[in-house]
Symmetry: C2
Subunit: 445 residues, 2 copies
């Protein structure tokens, strides 16, 4: 059974529609950050809301004592947009419990996970007066838009944020109760293409055949991104991609993973991707090019026989070591220029970008993390990479010079970024246990 | 100056949002038809609203007298959707006059043009007690959705609709005051493709690389429709296309047409189309494949890193003699199947279709039409084809066995099917004159 006070805090946290990408929700983002500061202050930490150029950072610390290791726990309180709203079974910002799950936007990504750490700290302080390490809790409000201001914040507060290791729960748990340690992440590079043609929508009978169609042009550009084998066709795209190590290929083949599970989880008619790699190899260790959104012309019921004046596509590229996001965006821009058809104007807008990340899981504080996972969940933890991107992990390495322990609590069917996002309440309680054990193990390390 | 009573009737007609493709406007369509019936009855014609499977047909007749030719005047009272609403300078169903133009959805297509004929008949009856021919006025409510029920209606009322010639104003006037006789039209064939993949939007990091992206698949299908020279790449598409006659190539080259005018009218950065043909040859006498609408995934501000669960494209093909819409739809379906990538489901929904049309403009009632155009506008009329589709013209030939005089009043910048559609009030008055002269000339023929 879940602790009612834990649930009460979780539901309050989930009710803030803290959608960072949508400027209409800027006030909700601030309100959510302010609530966290009040919560952390109430636990006895020195907490404050730090403004940035867009959404504020929540920062809290206990009293640091010389000789103890310093742990920075990172998370984010912003969430993805909730649309399409009509596909939710209940309102996305009104948490609903059904069985072991709570349904709400942000329940897994990342409010439930960061709150598990915060409540673990609160309980430890209640019982023992302090946690056994020097603690820094940093919760940002811009993760879902690529953390544009966090690097500056880290640099400006480099001394205050000096630490030995970072701990983050914003990655996956392979199955309920299988503690999962993620030692690699893909990077990301986003780009939006807008194609414009005529100055207004044209009658496709009167003008069809004599002007280029922007929607056709967008489709041609998108189609140029892949070859028939599912490989990205941008010249130079794979030049810096490192092959998988033998121990990874072997280790992953023993994990409770199956193509059938992926098929069931996604509901796709079949799996498809770059030829020559397994499902999980493609997701965790190979780069991709995906359309996140495409649009242009008539969107309503029935037909409207026009040549649309414009069309767009939003693309994101997932990157693996040693691809560099800036270099990839340059290659993609060059490719788009080379594949822009005549008769239209093509505008490219670069979006957020983050480097891929890779570290050694059987080294240093990694042992403490594996110990905490084992004790909290009672099973030998899985060592994996992940397909998602947490650009800030690379930034911690670059700015603070430390590695990150990624100890994820996101179940495969938690539907993050999608309608009916949910979080397991038993994993929530397990996460609270794990966080307490982790600080103990790091203190002993 | 416009006759105030003419304007009053026009504005009343334009205020009905008779959007036939959108089921939410079904009541407005009926109300518009009922207003027309009242108008025609008030002029002394026997008029009635005839139900069909969807939107009703307005039918009116004078008392037929043996020995006079019978003329069927055809038009439509339904209109295209008005969206995107934000691009209109004034509400689309609240007519606004500026200079010589009235701005409203349907002002040119087709309410202003059919009303010119109706008012001409009304004035003639007021002055002379009757028009000099046996008259049938037929105004349908389904032209913008491909007239799905009119063919059945014509067949069921074949005897009552027996006539010698049809007159229609639903085509273009090359420039203000240049009477224009259209002797050819392109046909049309519409198709909608829906591509589905995963059962929900997926996180593009977690799943990117292992399932096919429906938006990418739609783009690949669209890109397969053309070659680099702007030709349609569907096998067999051009097999039945007839070349232009020499007199057409020569006659058209002398008309007041220019690529510069098309560029200015469309606002496109440059003209583009099938290699080897002029602007107007491509628009009037060559077939096309156009995207009317494409969509899938995130449409909002900023980025949302998903693999969308589905995507769609709405396509229309403009056809020329002797292409057959049914045969073309079959070829296109086969092509789509051949170009559907793995990992997605592709559903094809056939839309409306209409045959291309071609007749001889210097023959039979054509001479009466050219005489009326010359006298009404004071210049030798232009003989042209048009790129648009009026499938019903072919149906008149098939069912009633008669040709159609297409005497259009749509100026090049009237923006039909687009925001800020407008109609010239001086052309409106010229159209009323022309319609009176036409009935006189046909009576003498």
């Amino acid at each position: 059974m879940s602790n009612p006070q834990h649930l009460d805090d979780l539901f309050t946290f989930l009710r803030f529609p803290s959608v960072s990408t949508d400027s209409r929700h800027a006030g909700d983002v601030v309100a959510c950050g302010a609530w966290l500061v009040a919560k952390l202050s109430g636990m006895g930490l020195a907490a404050a809301l730090h403004p940035t150029a867009r959404h504020p950072v929540v920062l809290a610390k206990n009293k640091h004592v010389e000789g103890r290791p310093t742990v920075l726990i990172y998370g984010h309180y912003d969430v993805q947009p909730a649309d399409p709203l009509e596909l939710w079974d209940s309102p996305p910002f009104e948490p609903r419990v059904e069985g072991d799950r709570v349904y709400a936007r942000g329940s897994t990504d990342n409010k439930g996970q960061i709150l598990a750490h915060i409540l673990a700290v609160g309980e430890t302080i209640d019982e023992k007066g302090d946690v056994p390490v020097n603690l820094i809790i940093l919760v940002e409000g811009e993760e879902e838009i690529g953390s544009p201001n966090l690097e500056v914040f880290l640099k400006e507060h480099r001394d205050a944020l000096k630490c030995d290791v970072v701990a983050v729960s914003d990655t996956g748990m392979l199955e309920k109760g299988l503690g999962t340690f993620t030692y690699g992440l893909r990077g990301i590079a986003c780009i939006e293409i807008k194609v414009t043609g005529p100055s207004m929508d044209l009658h496709s009978g009167i003008f069809g055949g004599t002007v280029a169609n922007p929607a056709t042009a967008v489709a041609q550009i998108v189609a140029s991104l892949h070859d028939a084998d599912g490989r990205v066709a941008v010249p130079g795209f794979y030049d810096r991609v490192q092959p998988l190590a033998d121990w990874e290929i072997e280790g992953w083949s023993k994990l409770p993973l199956s193509e059938e599970a992926t098929l069931k989880l996604t509901g796709a008619p079949s799996l498809f991707g770059e030829a020559g790699f397994s499902d999980h190899e493609r997701r965790w260790a190979r780069p991709t090019a995906e359309v996140n959104g495409i649009g242009g012309g008539y969107q309503g019921e029935g037909s409207k026989t026009i040549i649309p004046k414009e069309a767009f596509v939003k693309l994101s590229f997932r990157l693996v070591p040693d691809q560099d996001p800036g270099e990839i965006l340059g290659l993609v821009q060059k490719h788009i220029e080379a594949h822009s058809p005549p008769g239209v104007r093509v505008e490219v807008k670069l979006g957020h970008a983050g480097k891929p990340y890779l570290t050694n899981p059987q080294d240093g504080y990694g042992n403490a993390a594996r110990e905490a996972l084992l004790e909290a969940f009672g099973r030998e933890p899985a060592l994996i990479r992940e397909g998602g991107s947490i650009p800030i992990i690379q930034t911690f390495r670059d700015v603070l010079g430390v590695d990150t322990l990624m100890l994820g609590l996101a179940l495969p069917d938690c539907q993050i970024h999608a309608p009916n996002e949910n979080f397991s309440l038993s994993v929530f309680e397990g996460g609270i246990r794990m966080s307490r054990l982790l600080l103990d193990a790091i203190a002993r390390a």
